[in-house]
């Protein structure tokens, strides 16, 4: 017993000793002593020497109150020589902070005077990091959860190796200069300027809002993204938008590393209000009713040459607005969005103008933003697209499929073409025999011929002849589906909805819908129920008016009563729904889609 007592007493004593030693043995004191020693060696006058000899290590701190929240920077407890010109060639942490005429430092009377004095600005205002930390790892922000590690210097443990390699360097500090030097043409921040141009040039502004710059609503608001995200997230998300958010519809743009870096620096500089804005400026910006004209309009307008015809100007605009960083025209291919090479014979001018003004008026789940460009530009771009009337040269069905269909449906026809993930509803998986062999041939031929309204499937009737269309369909049946058409038992489905449309019927339909359907189709019937993400093909968005209007009662009723083979839609007849129940549901669905008939 007494031995045990002695052992634990010893443990407590050793523990206390270790804790106390750990607390009071500080690296910064060693650093300061090393500094005193080095400075003493270089001291020339006795006065210098005397001042150094009397010094004892102490915590050096700057309290910065002039810029936003009060900052307490103790960085100089280790980096004690930042303002001592004698140690320009010393090793970190005892090195003099470089003097730079570009940053406004002045060489006067044989010595440098700083423009940004540490006593006014501290360190973390520019460098980020954790000013209060007295331990290198703390202070530099290496802790994986520290929100602002030293910019361009500290790589946190959780950052991926390949990303981290791009995130070092003094350039990244430009993102911080912008906090005060908010002028977009400020000479000291060329990369922010370049990133800002890219933000407009590559079309980012179409989806993302940045207060005072853009008003996109498809993607997240980036006004304060610099506060919310660290460099690795910004870089990683541009490189692969789906690495962090599996359901992101953001295109994976093809950018050079330099462009990515400029964009990351620009985004990192977005921190809401800059130090140079007053709250009144802010308020004016927020309440301003005029939509800020995207800078891209100005940038592009300055870049394009005088063109003779609207179509020629439209061609330049399509280049200038970087439409082809997503779309394809002839040989230029962004690899993200539909091929516009035959747009002149697929669409007409009103369709194009409508679609430019609001893509979702034609394809309700389109991820193309409404860019809000000037109407004259839209008109010219439409005029150019209307000149793309040359049909493709005669090809074999296999070639036709590869050229026209594979972009969305995939070379193997599995619905996984290069732009399939950006298209909603997703392209049909043509390899799914269960689906393909149970629908009448005419339905497929119509879909190819007339397109599917409300989706990205365009009408091919003017591009391809009827024989070509038949040829492509036969090619699909033979080489992709590879199963013969099935003869289904005759089904009892009314041509017209037997239940007349009425508010009561729609209400009954809604009740059944809420009970049976919302798990997949969602409470709003928009196809985004809780199970929708696990289902392929995704449940139909029943608020897609263009699609619903074009779908006859017969098909809606049949799909509900008998289910849809090859999809997750079950046969609701087996679960006890009667024809009149289904009639009510159809009426409910129709009642959701009253516009755009």
């Amino acid at each position: 017993m007494r031995l045990a007592l002695a052992v634990v007493s010893l443990l407590v004593m050793i523990g206390s000793g270790v804790v106390v030693y750990d607390q009071f043995h500080s690296r910064w004191e060693d650093n300061q002593r090393a500094y005193f020693h080095q400075a003493l060696e270089q001291a020339k006058t006795p006065a210098e020497r005397a001042s150094l000899e009397g010094r004892q290590p102490k915590i050096e701190q700057t309290i910065v109150t002039a810029f936003g929240e009060t900052r307490i920077d103790r960085c100089q407890s280790c980096h004690i020589a930042v303002d001592d010109p004698r140690l320009t060639s010393a090793k970190q942490p005892l090195k003099t902070h470089p003097y730079s005429a570009a940053m406004g430092d002045v060489f006067r009377n044989g010595r440098w005077e700083r423009r940004h004095k540490f006593s006014d600005f501290g360190c973390t205002l520019c460098h980020d990091g954790q000013g209060r930390g007295l331990d290198a790892a703390d202070a530099h922000g290496e802790d994986p959860f520290w929100p602002s590690p030293m910019i361009g210097y500290t790589i946190q443990d959780r950052w991926s190796k390949e990303t981290a390699g791009h995130l070092r360097g003094a350039d990244f500090i430009q993102a911080k200069c912008v906090q005060c030097h908010a002028d977009k043409d400020f000479a000291g921040t060329p990369l922010v300027k370049r990133g800002r141009e890219l933000f407009f040039k590559t079309g980012c502004f179409g989806c993302h809002r940045i207060e005072g710059l853009s008003s996109g609503t498809i993607g997240p608001d980036l006004t304060e993204v610099g506060n919310e995200r660290k460099l690795d997230y910004l870089w990683g998300h541009i490189v692969d938008p789906r690495a962090y958010t599996a359901t992101s519809v953001m295109p994976q743009f093809k950018l050079s590393d330099d462009d990515k870096k400029a964009l990351v620096i620009f985004l990192k500089s977005r921190r809401g209000a800059s130090m140079s804005e007053s709250s009144v400026d802010q308020f004016r910006m927020q309440t301003s009713t005029t939509n800020p004209v995207p800078e891209s309009v100005a940038v592009v307008a300055a870049a394009i040459t005088k063109a003779s015809t609207p179509a020629a100007r439209g061609e330049q605009l399509i280049q200038g607005y970087a439409c082809l960083s997503c779309h394809k025209v002839a040989d230029h291919d962004g690899g993200i969005s539909p091929d516009l090479s035959y747009e002149g014979i697929i669409r007409d001018q009103p369709w194009l103008i409508d679609h430019f003004n609001n893509p979702r008026s034609r394809v309700p789940d389109s991820n193309m933003p409404a860019f809000g460009l000037p109407e004259s530009d839209f008109a010219d771009m439409a005029a150019y697209l209307m000149t793309r009337t040359a049909p493709p040269p005669a090809m074999t069905p296999a070639e036709t499929f590869k050229t026209l269909c594979a972009r969305c449906h995939g070379e193997k026809g599995d619905g996984k073409g290069i732009n399939a993930i950006y298209i909603d509803p997703a392209p049909r998986d043509l390899t799914k025999a269960e689906f393909m062999t149970t629908k009448p041939e005419t339905r497929f031929l119509t879909s190819i011929d007339q397109g599917v309204p409300g989706t990205s499937m365009p009408p091919w009737d003017k591009v391809l002849t009827d024989e070509q269309i038949k040829g492509v369909f036969d090619y699909i049946s033979k080489n992709i589906v590879r199963e013969p058409q099935k003869q289904l038992k005759p089904r009892k489905v009314p041509e017209q909805n037997p239940v007349p449309m009425s508010a009561e019927s729609a209400q009954r339909g809604q009740a059944i819908f809420t009970q049976r359907c919302i798990g997949c189709h969602g409470r709003k019937a928009d196809g985004r129920g809780p199970n929708s993400l696990d289902i392929s093909p995704r449940p139909r968005n029943l608020r897609n008016s263009a699609f619903i209007h074009n779908t006859p009662d017969r098909r809606l009723t049949e799909s509900i009563l008998y289910g849809v083979e090859g999809t997750a839609m079950p046969s609701w007849m087996d679960y006890g729904l009667t024809q009149s129940d289904v009639g009510d549901i159809v009426n409910y669905i129709r009642s959701l889609n009253t516009t755009g008939k």
């Binding site: 017993m1 443990l11 523990g15 804790v19 954790q130 930390g133 919310e228």
Partner: protein, 421 residues
């Protein structure tokens, strides 16, 4: 005159001795009477009985769990008060204060670590203590009421730990409390109101932080202290720790290492202590003096607890995640580990998992000593006569442990089952 001077001089000479004597009324005891008097006249020692049964001293009988829980509470109080000097219950300042503690306050890291790990440990030891009391049948009459106090103490411990969880105001805290209070929101009738009263708002925010802070540093510790006092007092009044009905001449002395002196003169304890509940007089043969036997054991447990908490705190840092971001919940958002069993149950059914089953379990715990009153098997681990009760309780414990393990290690994004290996 000289006599007076003499006596004054004597006073001066004897000053140190007198001071010591005024504080320590008894010399270090060398006789049984002295040992009894020491225990009896000292404020801190009088909480303990003068004599203590050998059974109660056996480390394998109690494992010191109740005492460890108490000492952890003491550690928590001391470190907690020190932390209060640095903490500000404000959503704008709290997280910054955490960073201060970690990087610039002297002993900040170790203080915070000790407070955090001791809190987790206390939840565990209090629960284990409850298990010990059950498996040894120590809740039976006349100790029913103390069992109730114990259940209340367990709940208070959980609540204290839970309210403290929010204070760092990091992502871990915010979402754990969001999940935890949502579970409270599932209670029938009063759920919504309870949640609102707890949070002072519809969501976790400044009001919630302030409420949790006041609960954590004032209300709960005070109530807890009161209950601990009653708990200890009842132990004495119920005749010390539970022991088998008839003393079985167990060879416990060697194990406990108790010092046994042959009494030089027999005297009755009743001569010193009166009261209706004191039962020690009859069992003198099986008891030893608290001084030094019990005191050394307690000192050992105290030092062991301090050493354990200190070593763990030196080796492992208390977690601190990003500052609160209400727009980006972690996936999955998990409650503190001791509530993960609940959260796991909630993932099957919000009402039954969060309120129904825990409510029934709690009710059973409360009613238990009033319905299981037989005297068989009291005072020994897993007594054969109590096989049914012990098995049922074991199932309850294992089920909860399994649920907590599943919730902690086997649940990933969207509460999907994942393998940690």
């Amino acid at each position: 005159m000289s006599d007076e001077v003499n006596s004054k001089w004597k006073n001066v000479m004897n000053f140190p001795t007198n001071v010591v004597k005024s504080i320590f009324r008894n010399p270090l005891p060398s006789s049984d009477r002295g040992r009894a008097a020491t225990s009896f006249t000292n404020f801190f020692l009088h909480i303990q009985p003068v004599r203590v049964s050998r059974q109660a001293l056996r480390p394998t009988y109690t494992m010191g769990l109740g005492l460890i829980s108490f000492f952890l509470f003491v550690i928590l109080t001391v470190t907690g008060v020190l932390l209060m000097f640095y903490y500000v219950p404000s959503t704008t300042q709290a997280y910054g204060r955490m960073l201060d503690l970690r990087s610039s306050v002297a002993f900040g890291v170790i203080l915070r670590n000790m407070h955090r790990w001791a809190a987790h440990a206390m939840v565990a030891t209090v629960f284990l203590h409850m298990c010990r009391v059950f498996f040894t049948g120590s809740y039976k009459p006349p100790r029913e009421f103390n069992w109730l106090i114990g259940v209340a103490l367990f709940l208070l411990t959980l609540l204290s730990s839970f309210t403290g969880y929010l204070l760092p105001w990091d992502q871990l805290a915010f979402w754990a409390i969001t999940v935890g209070t949502s579970i409270a929101g599932y209670a029938p009738l009063v759920g919504k109101e309870l949640k609102f009263i707890l949070l002072g708002d519809a969501t976790v925010g400044q009001e919630a932080l302030l409420r949790f802070y006041v609960l954590h540093v004032v209300v709960l510790p005070l109530v807890l202290t009161l209950f601990v006092a009653v708990h200890f007092w009842r132990i004495r009044k119920d005749g010390g720790l539970a022991k088998p009905e008839e003393a079985e001449g167990v060879p416990v002395l060697a194990a406990a290492g108790a010092a046994v002196e042959q009494p030089s003169r027999r005297f009755s304890i009743q001569g010193l202590v009166r009261g209706p509940f004191v039962k020690i007089g009859n069992l003198e043969e099986d008891t030893v003096f608290s001084w030094p036997n019990l005191l050394i054991a307690e000192l050992f447990v105290l030092l062991l607890t301090i050493a354990g908490v200190m070593i763990v705190s030196f080796l492992f840092n208390a977690p601190l995640e990003q500052p609160v971001n209400v727009m980006h919940p972690p996936n999955p958002a998990k409650a503190p580990w001791y509530f993960l069993g609940l959260q796991e149950q909630v993932s099957y059914s919000a009402f039954w998992g969060g309120i129904g089953i825990p409510g029934i379990e709690l009710l059973l715990l409360v009613l238990l000593p009033y319905f299981d009153r037989g005297k068989e098997g009291v005072g020994s681990w897993f007594a054969r006569q109590r096989i049914l009760a012990n098995s049922l309780f074991l199932v309850f414990v294992i089920a909860n442990v399994i649920l907590i393990v599943i919730g902690t290690f086997f649940r990933g994004a969207n509460w999907q089952f994942v393998s940690p290996f």
